[in-house]
């Protein structure tokens, strides 16, 4: 399978990428790792007329300790997130989840920024950064703005990013030693989650987000509120689907997903409480 023909330009900086995308308008798409976009283009589910390759914007590939948060460049690959010492120390939930994205070959190419910008509810890192209370930094022709992860996801593959804006940095608050767990339920090793859960917990506080439980990644606020009010883990986990609206598909029905979500949230909170 070969994608439909397109023009190709390479950007060497975020500013150049943004000026190119403003020039070509809605026919243009950024190409980061290409591991979501190229499969779609091969199936002709996407046919952009222009690809702007940002894969070589090397100064957007970094992981930095920025005091109370860790700053991750949008072009940082999953493999680098997975193996980062800084993240393993300060945001181990994120580095662990990155290690569960696809397979090694996918993790060598796919980027955290591509994963978040793609806004697939079945992806692991949108939900994980949502659970961690991340902020995304985007840059457009008029400069930069910060978007809280809680405000970013608008619908299936839809986000608050404008067509001429580029995601440049992900800011993840340090976990300060909180317990955590990432639960991914799938049938084959390399697959996307049928349902996934990213959770952290410390005394009187928890954060839980769900993968593939609706048209966006879902923040399970009822669970977190229940934990904060002192509910038992099983009572809190029973509320796993309060904010969710999962679809039925070949892998699982809506009811099955809701059941699975409460089981996985319970397991995640138990593991995070150890």
């Amino acid at each position: 399978m070969i994608p439909a023909a397109f023009d190709y330009k390479r950007a060497s900086s975020a500013a150049e990428a943004i000026s190119l995308v403003s020039q070509y308008g809605s026919d243009a798409k950024f190409l980061a790792g290409g591991h979501s976009l190229l499969p779609l283009m091969k199936l002709r589910l996407a046919q952009p007329a222009m690809l702007i390759d940002i894969g070589r914007v090397k100064d957007l590939s970094y992981i930095k300790d920025a005091g109370n948060h860790i700053a991750i460049g949008a072009l940082t690959r999953h493999m680098d997130v997975e193996t980062s010492k800084v993240l393993r120390e300060h945001a181990p939930l994120l580095s662990h989840a990155a290690g569960h994205v696809g397979d090694a070959q996918v993790r060598h190419r796919g980027t955290i920024g591509g994963s978040i910008a793609h806004a697939d509810p079945a992806s692991d890192l949108p939900a994980t950064t949502l659970a961690l209370g991340a902020t995304y930094v985007v840059q457009g022709p008029k400069g930069q703005r910060e978007i809280a992860a809680t405000k970013f996801y608008k619908g299936f593959l839809e986000s608050d990013l404008a067509a001429d804006e580029m995601l440049i940095e992900i800011r993840v608050p340090k976990m300060q030693g909180a317990g955590w767990s990432f639960q991914k339920f799938n049938r084959r090793a390399q697959d996307w989650a049928i349902v996934g859960v990213a959770a952290w917990r410390r005394k009187g506080e928890a954060g839980v987000a769900l993968v593939n439980m609706g048209s966006t990644p879902i923040l399970a606020t009822s669970v977190a509120t229940a934990i904060a009010k002192g509910a038992s883990i099983s009572d809190a986990a029973a509320m796993a689907s309060n904010e969710a609206d999962p679809q039925s598909d070949l892998n699982a029905s809506t009811d099955y997903r809701k059941h699975l979500a409460s089981v996985l949230v319970r397991r995640a909170l138990e593991a995070a409480s150890k």
């Binding site: 023909a5 397109f6 023009d7 190709y8 591991h35 499969p39 690809l51 493999m79 060598h108 190419r109």
Partner: protein, 152 residues
């Protein structure tokens, strides 16, 4: 678009359409057909080769993305007629039957040992999760990779 890609140590200059996939470039432009296309949907790993030393799926990379890169395919492993230890390990441990997945399996396995020279059996199984084999049941593939790791 003009690209310059080093394949198995030799630099090639070619003019390609931007939509040319790296696997098609390797097979049809360079003429090295050891790298197979299996699923063509990023799942099976048959098209795995090394780009700048790392295992990647060449059906999901554009040749223009590999411009300036150094690529190693299954044909580039043997040195002076002597097989790479991973190839020998696959042969000695019956790590293949029909052989279709084998070039990708071997490239993924070498990539795995580059990152984790002494993996456990579990780590080998997880490390090869991006490669599917329809014949062997994986048992002898895992055995081959562990044999290559302990031969080092």
């Amino acid at each position: 678009m003009k690209v310059s890609i080093t394949v198995n140590g030799k630099e090639h200059q070619s003019d390609v359409e931007p939509r040319t996939l790296l696997v098609h470039y390797i097979r049809e432009v360079i003429g090295l057909t050891g790298t197979n296309v299996g699923c063509d949907t990023s799942s099976c790993g048959a098209c795995t080769l090394h780009m700048n030393g790392e295992a990647v799926k060449s059906c999901t990379i554009l040749a223009v993305q590999a411009d300036g890169a150094s690529v190693t395919t299954i044909e580039g492993l043997a040195k002076d007629g002597v097989m790479h230890p991973m190839q020998t390990a696959f042969m000695e441990n019956h790590g293949l039957q029909c052989g279709y997945c084998t070039p990708g399996m071997v490239m993924a396995a070498i990539g795995l040992l580059n990152e984790n020279p002494k993996p456990t059996e579990e780590q080998v199984r997880m490390g090869l999760e991006g490669n599917l084999c329809r014949c062997t049941g994986y048992h002898n593939i895992v055995k081959s990779v562990l044999a290559a790791a302990s031969a080092k």
